[in-house]
Amino acid sequence: MTEWLERHIPKMVLAPSFIAILVFVYGFIAWTAWVSLTRSRLLPKYEVEGLIQYERLFASPRFDTAMTNLFIFGTLFIVISMVLGLLIAILLDQKIRTEGVLRTIYLYPMALSMIVTGTAWKWIMNPGLGIEKMVRDWGFENFSFDWVIDPDMAIYAVVIAGVWQASGFVMALFLAGLRSVDGEIIKAAQVDGIPNWRIYSAIIIPSMAPIFLSAFIVLAHLAIKSFDLVIALTGGGPGYATDLPATYMYAMAFSRGDIGQAASSAMVMMAVVFAIIVPYLYSELRTKHD
């Protein structure tokens, strides 16, 4: 008996967590998928009716705005954060004595809640009292910076705050990558008289491909999940000009009482995440086994 127990203890220790993940992750995904196929409104119904919720979803101008916003925000957020992160990492890699301090400064936004970031930038970009007023007081009377209340520009205000928060983290990833490149190759290149910018563009950056991939995955994941930032910065407004799928889903679930729409939009978010993550995880896990 004790021998049996001793042999099975590892499984019994893992079992509660495993069951919890099965139920609360996979079971719940299945529930949401099921409900997204029904006519559920205020309360869930369980008769499968087909794809009507998805038809409603893709016919809804509000969700259309949300997906367009996700595309704009996601693309700009990822590209700018990566470019900025790489640039700062290369600048920091030039034997700077104050590197430690600078790194701390560039990275601290990552420790903040998106709600704090949103609150701070909402105030900075306040049209009446923020940057706009500051620049006008400097004498540029016609200067205008009212992105947070301009339906056409508000999503770019979200990009600014998002980049401010995440680019330092990308910098840290790239800096670690720069430091892991084989020093011998670089010395050899320097001996051959190859200029520094060529060493970066032809040797170092190409060898960091895996880091670009990691940074991309993390940023894409952050972009899709972005919810707090929009809520704090614009509240999804003006109107629903800065809605993202995440805020759309929340509005349907908790203020509109439209469970069917909430479930189907959540499934669409999940599909977007999967399209990005699954190939990555698959390759990662496979190389682990080899």
Binding site: E6, I9, P10, L14, S17, F18, I21, L22, F24, V25, Y26, F28, I29, T32, V35, P44, I88, L91, D93, Q94, I105, Y106, L107, Y108, A111, L112, S113, M114, I115, V116, T119, A120, W123, L129, K133, M134, W164, G168, A176, L178, G183, K187, Q190, Y200, S214, K225, D228, I231, G235, P245, A246, Y250, A253, I259, A262, M267, M269, M270, V273, L281
Partner: protein, 298 residues
């Protein structure tokens, strides 16, 4: 270290070029530092100004007259909707929510990681993959059933309910951290201890746990930052009185009644950010390690 930086030459014209380049470098780095510091600077100075000074002065000016009035209001008088008790009760909600959630999820992660890395059985890798995958789902996909489940369990809108949610969805990451740490410890250690008659828990307690301090620090910091900064679960699964600090902050900032008190908003934002900022300043090295371990899998 990539040893790229600029080999020395004795040619004076190239030396001048080097110095100019160096100055350009420092200027750029300084400008970036300003970009990242500016919001924090604006938050702090705004929180120390009176409303009158905010209306008449510049966004980036130092306060002419320092007042802590806004801080007092933010802590104990600001209105989150109908109640006007400031951030204080919600700050404590976050504290009593984060501590058990961090401890429980870290403990479970340590045990799970220990099993998966050192007591491999058939299917253990599949279980690990399934757990890992759970880290990546957008939580929107579990919000609705979780709301119903918490209701059925009778802990909807309570702090224990929120603790439960954070533990469940924290397990994936904590298990990943510990598994990756323990996998580098040679299997012979467990084998030798078994020969000496030590059991599963004994080996964990006297061999693995004492080796684990660095990864425990990384995990605790990661979990604390995640849970303290969480907004989605907080806003979905709490009710008046049990909200965490991030939700209360958002309510204060977006409450539409009365005059907008920007100085109070900023003081409240700093208060909500202080615990994680403190952790970052004190243990930044571990914070970064968690970030990169959580993103660069394996």
């Amino acid at each position: 270290m990539t040893d790229i930086a600029l080999t020395t030459t004795h040619n004076p014209s190239r030396n001048w070029g080097r110095i100019a380049l160096r100055w350009l470098l420092f200027t750029l780095l300084g400008l970036f530092a300003l970009f990242y510091l500016m919001p924090l600077f604006v938050m702090v100075t705004t929180s120390l100004k009176s409303l009158e000074e905010i209306r008449t002065g510049s966004l980036v000016a130092f306060p002419r007259e320092v007042t802590f009035e806004a801080w007092r209001t933010a802590w104990s008088g600001a209105c989150t909707g109908i109640q006007c008790e400031g951030l204080r009760p919600y700050f404590w909600n976050s504290v009593i929510l984060a501590i058990p959630a961090v401890l429980i999820s870290t403990m479970l992660g340590a045990l799970n990681g220990y099993v998966i890395a050192q007591w491999k059985f058939k299917g253990a890798n599949l279980i690990f993959s399934l757990m890992l995958f759970g880290c990546f789902i957008p939580f929107q996909v579990v919000l609705l059933p979780m709301a119903r489940m918490l209701g059925m369990m009778g802990i909807a809108g309570t702090i224990p309910g929120l603790i439960f949610v954070h533990v469940i969805y924290g397990i994936g990451f904590t298990t990943l951290f510990f598994r990756n740490y323990y996998v580098s410890i040679p299997q012979e250690l467990v084998k030798a201890a078994k020969v000496d008659g030590a059991g599963f828990f004994r080996i964990f307690w006297s061999i693995f746990l004492p080796l684990s301090l660095p990864i425990i620090v990384v995990t605790v910091i990661w979990q604390f930052t995640q849970i303290w900064n969480d907004f989605l679960f907080g806003v979905s699964f709490s009710q008046a009185g049990t909200q965490p600090v991030t939700v209360a902050l958002n309510n204060i900032v977006n409450s539409t009644t009365g005059v907008k008190e920007y100085n109070v908003d900023m003081a409240a934002a700093i208060i909500a950010a202080l615990p994680t900022l403190l952790v970052y300043v004190v243990a930044g090295k571990y914070f970064i390690r968690g970030l990169t371990a959580g993103s660069v899998k394996g």
